[in-house]
């Protein structure tokens, strides 16, 4: 892989997030973005004059608009500045985070603002996402963003009863976290005594994937400001350092039998490479928090195995023993994760923003009480696209 050490270190110096919800009828797109921009600037104690470059991203066609970055200048502050638009599907927010880091590391820009947004209520997501599929082979057969592949896999491996219980345990834990996060779109107040009822009666979507397992469609925006080491130290006493990030993807439709590629998932492949080049031998011990892009409780449960390079049923035990809770051994998504809020173009950037806040220690009611020094954030998009980002409290590697 063409990986080279960074030209210079980069720190996160400001974050902003809107409240996530099903509707934002009170603001247009530029106005909603502006809320997050304003928050991030205030958080970093900067003005737009201090920002050298703006990177903007969301899902193609999800609001049925073309080149939104141009007219969002009214809210983004990009007027007269170098600016880029990125759109890499569900991973857009993760790619925005990579771009923010790379652009600041390159030396081209000292301060870079990354903006992710989505107003899913305004468009027709299935209409947009169907465009992803090849018109000859897949477009007539596609089921949009819904799949029960992880459920099939877990049930096959561990039996229906244990797998279903693990997925619902994961779901309830995420809801408990969402209830702590004031920005959550969905926080139901689920409790353990509802487990059997939900497993039985939540409306089925595809196979064993039920409505309660699945992420929401949300409106919202997220902004993260990146600065070079020198600038970051001037701007804030608590920069969060971007240690490394990695992107791995492949088109699954034309590779269903994995004839030409390794049989590893892109998640495991990305994790192995990232840990290897950073000398991390036991990720479960190393990281203090993981903000995972978990589109459903089934995926979230299954993917723990991939991201932490686990074997056998170790990932199920993490869930069953509630070690993934905010006060557990390996807190997953203290924010509530993607099931709690999914403004897609912002979603993966929210993972990075939330991980950064946990390291700073000012996440709010969902702050992990133990010290957080090492954080991991993931992004996921179709068809199999992984971005993994590592954040650090200390610049000492």
């Amino acid at each position: 892989m063409g990986y080279k050490k960074k030209n210079r270190h980069v720190g996160i110096v400001g974050v902003g997030e809107t409240k996530f919800s099903s509707h934002r009828e009170d603001v247009n797109q530029a106005e909603m973005i502006h809320e997050a921009v304003r928050q991030a600037l205030d958080d970093a104690n900067l003005t737009m004059d201090d920002v050298d470059c703006v990177v903007h991203g969301n899902m193609e066609l999800f609001e049925m608009i073309h080149q939104p970055d141009l007219w969002h200048t009214l809210g983004s502050g990009a007027y007269g500045k170098d600016a880029f638009r990125l759109t890499t599907g569900g991973t857009t927010g993760g790619t925005l985070a990579c771009a923010g880091d790379n652009l600041a590391a390159s030396g081209m820009y000292d301060v870079v603002m990354a903006i992710g947004f989505e107003k899913l209520q305004e468009g027709h997501t299935t209409g947009g996402i169907t465009n992803m599929a090849d018109p000859l082979w897949a477009r007539k057969l596609q089921s949009g963003a819904l799949t029960d592949s992880a459920a099939v896999k877990l049930i096959e491996e561990f039996g229906a009863e244990r797998a279903r219980r693990a997925a619902m345990t994961y779901r309830i834990i995420m809801d408990k976290h969402a209830c702590l996060n004031p920005n959550s779109h969905r926080a139901f107040g689920l409790d353990w005594d509802q487990m059997d009822d939900l497993m039985e009666n939540s409306p089925p979507l595809i196979g064993d994937l039920r409505l309660i397992h699945m992420c929401s469609q949300s409106d919202g925006a997220c902004v993260v400001i990146y600065a070079s080491e020198e600038k970051a130290k001037q701007i804030t006493d608590t920069p969060v350092w971007v240690r490394d990030h990695i992107t791995v993807h492949r088109e699954e439709t034309l590779d269903l039998c994995n004839n030409y590629y390794p049989t590893d998932t892109t998640h495991r492949f990305a994790a192995e490479k990232l840990y290897e080049r950073n000398g991390i031998t036991n990720p479960l011990e190393y990281f203090d928090v993981f903000e995972m892009y978990d589109p459903s409780a089934w995926w979230g449960t299954d993917w723990l195995k991939e991201f932490f390079l686990l074997e056998d049923d170790d990932h199920l035990k993490l869930v069953e023993n509630k070690e993934i809770m905010i006060d557990g051994k390996m807190p997953i998504n203290p924010s509530g994760g993607v099931i709690a809020a999914n403004p897609i173009g912002a979603t993966a950037l929210v993972r990075v923003a939330e991980a950064a806040k946990q390291i700073r220690g000012n996440a709010g009611p969902h702050q992990i009480q133990k010290p957080v020094n090492h954080a991991l954030a993931s992004a996921f998009g179709g068809t199999m696209w992984t971005v993994l980002t590592m954040l650090e409290k200390e610049l000492n590697w």
Binding site: V27, G75, Y79, E122, G127, T130, N131
Partner: protein, 154 residues
């Protein structure tokens, strides 16, 4: 003449995608459109720092980031043509039978031009700087087409 590309046996898939959407106009946009619809008033916003009146209005000044949402200015229904072009091709999405004239019109009291239809004038008679006034639609559609068009001031 020989064909440049051999397209024999090349299958083309004909498809059609629906693109339904809603657009939340925001409070500033909503105020503009309801004033136009209910009172036939055209509103702009002023940025005091940049000394500019923006039409259409926006919540934030993109130059200095000032919050403009309360700085309403009522504009005249009159203004001048900044520039114009003639739409000559026909398509279903166009608002008029072609040919018709699209003009940038700077309303009196505004610093930015508004794009709209210019009518009741011969193409050869239009000149930048020409004085025009708004003609409001008889029936509202709660859109920018509640101004039906602009016409020259006699």
């Amino acid at each position: 003449m020989q064909k440049a590309v051999d397209s024999a046996d090349a299958y083309v898939i004909e498809g059609k995608l629906a693109l339904p959407y809603s657009y939340f106009a925001g409070r500033v946009g909503s105020t503009f459109i309801t004033a136009l619809r209910d009172s036939k008033q055209i509103l702009g916003v002023r940025c005091d720092k940049c000394n500019k009146v923006f039409v259409p209005p926006r919540q934030t000044c993109e130059r200095c980031m000032a919050d403009l949402r309360e700085n309403w200015v009522q504009l005249e229904n009159t203004g001048e043509v900044v520039n114009f072009t003639v739409v000559r091709y026909s398509d279903k999405h166009l608002p008029r039978k072609t040919p018709y004239i699209l003009a940038m019109i700077k309303l009196d009291g505004a610093d930015t031009p508004l794009v709209h239809i210019l009518d009741e004038v011969k193409i050869e008679d239009i000149k930048p700087g020409m004085r025009v006034e708004a003609v409001f639609s008889e029936k509202t559609t709660s859109t920018i087409l509640d101004i039906d068009h602009f016409k020259p001031i006699a």
